[in-house]
Amino acid sequence: MNDDRPPILEVRGLRKSFGHLEVLRGIDLAVLPQELVFIIGPSGSGKSTLLRCCNRLEEPTGGSIRIDGVDLMARSTDINAMRRRIGMVFQSFNLYPHMSALGNVALALRKVLGRKHAEADTLARAALARVGLAEKANAYPAELSGGQQQRVAIARALALGPKIMLFDEPTSALDPELVGSVLKVMRELKAGGMTMLVVSHEMRFARDAADRVIFIDHGVIVEEGTPEQIFSNPGEARTKAFIAEIAR
């Protein structure tokens, strides 16, 4: 994508070590507005760590991260204020089990955006409607299917009006027949112009929804390109091997 618009997310020289283990070894990455960027790579390649550095759930060891022009690592940056602009969806949903779907979505609206109870509930219902769960507002997580739980988790992030959504293997914990409902919501987000960075193994989804695919191995970007390039005509041997492996 050749584009002059400033990127929503800009990562430069990102490094992350856990003790002596270097997980990220200099990542450069820019995600433009409304772009859907897909990150693929073998397990342990650092793709989840990269995503988690983007809202500082993991503290980077070096490099810089900018969200919407704001330096995420700067001491003057209020990380909590930034995080509400960075939606995150987890593999294991992480819904609050003691709260209804509505409560899960409304909590941050009250505690972070400072909305009144009634106002937060209205906004939360709207967010649940966006993921097709308006009628499940009063259900508790345990009463919902995995797919529904993940959609509530998406609504929880979406309600805060994020500039970018980070998806960390959003469908990996789901039974196959429930994956479709979550991908449908993600497609709708994409169609609505949301900027998204997705770590996932859903190659078919990547093919028809992603603008760019990035292949990461051993903490570095090995190759990036359009889904067509990466999946059908990869340039690097490592990419080829990985694509062949997951296509089986």
């Binding site: 909590n80 995150m88 987890f90 992480n94 609050y96 508790y140």
Partner: protein, 227 residues
């Protein structure tokens, strides 16, 4: 006199029951007062200590662990005697009621801290991460996400601990707090008969059975279907 009448005469002498009924009733009131005070301060202090520990400031956490281990290791009777007979030597004179209250509160706080801390640790990391990723701060995450779940998990062990500690109000006897056992043993030595002790035992049962039932009710009440 047959064995049955001798048994009744020793443990259930009607005349003594009538004579010591008011004293045992007074003892019950005192026991309730101490127990209530100990439960409130002990559990609150335990919760506060567990919360302080979540900040993971090493020297403070270490102090808490020392406090907790000390009060869990020492027999409450030793502490009661030490505080009651020791403090006056350094010029601090506390009424016996206060000594019992402070010592038992600290013992309950020590156990409660460990239980709450275990509860907090058992909440999956993903719960913290989900809340923090939406911009909710540390304290609000603790207050609205972690503690409500942790406290629910701890209702049963806290109830057991509370029962165990409040029964130790009987230690008040050795320092002259006029609680149930104190009244009962006084009656026993005056009357030369075990009937006041029987009455004391019955008084404890009357007091503590409702607490056991309440604990069971709380346990069901606070259970929620897990994901």
């Amino acid at each position: 006199m047959d064995a049955w009448s001798r048994f009744l005469d020793t443990f259930f002498k009607w005349e003594l029951i009538q004579r010591y009924f008011p004293a045992i009733l007074d003892g019950m009131a005192v026991t309730i007062e101490i127990a209530a005070a100990v439960v409130i301060t002990g559990i609150l202090l335990g919760l506060v200590l567990a919360i302080v520990r979540t900040f993971r400031i090493l020297p403070i956490s270490a102090l808490i662990v020392i406090f907790v281990d000390m009060f869990r290791a020492l027999p409450p009777l030793v502490l009661v005697l030490l505080v009651y007979f020791g403090l006056p030597n350094i010029g601090i004179n506390l009424p016996s009621f206060a000594v019992l209250w402070i010592v038992l509160s600290c013992v309950l706080a020590a156990f409660a801290e460990e239980i709450f801390w275990a509860g907090i640790l058992s909440i999956p990391k993903g719960q913290w991460e989900a809340a923090r990723s939406t911009g909710i701060g540390f304290l609000n995450t603790l207050a609205y996400i972690v503690l409500p779940q942790a406290v629910r998990l701890t209702v049963a062990p806290i109830t057991n601990r509370t029962l165990a500690i409040t029964k130790n109000t009987a230690l008040g006897m050795v320092i002259g707090v006029s609680e149930i056992l104190s009244q009962a043993t006084t009656g026993q030595s005056f009357a030369g008969n075990a009937t006041p002790l029987t009455m004391g035992a019955i008084a404890y049962v009357i007091l503590f059975i409702p607490v056991v039932v309440l604990g069971r009710w709380l346990e069901t009440r606070f259970r929620w279907r897990r994901a």
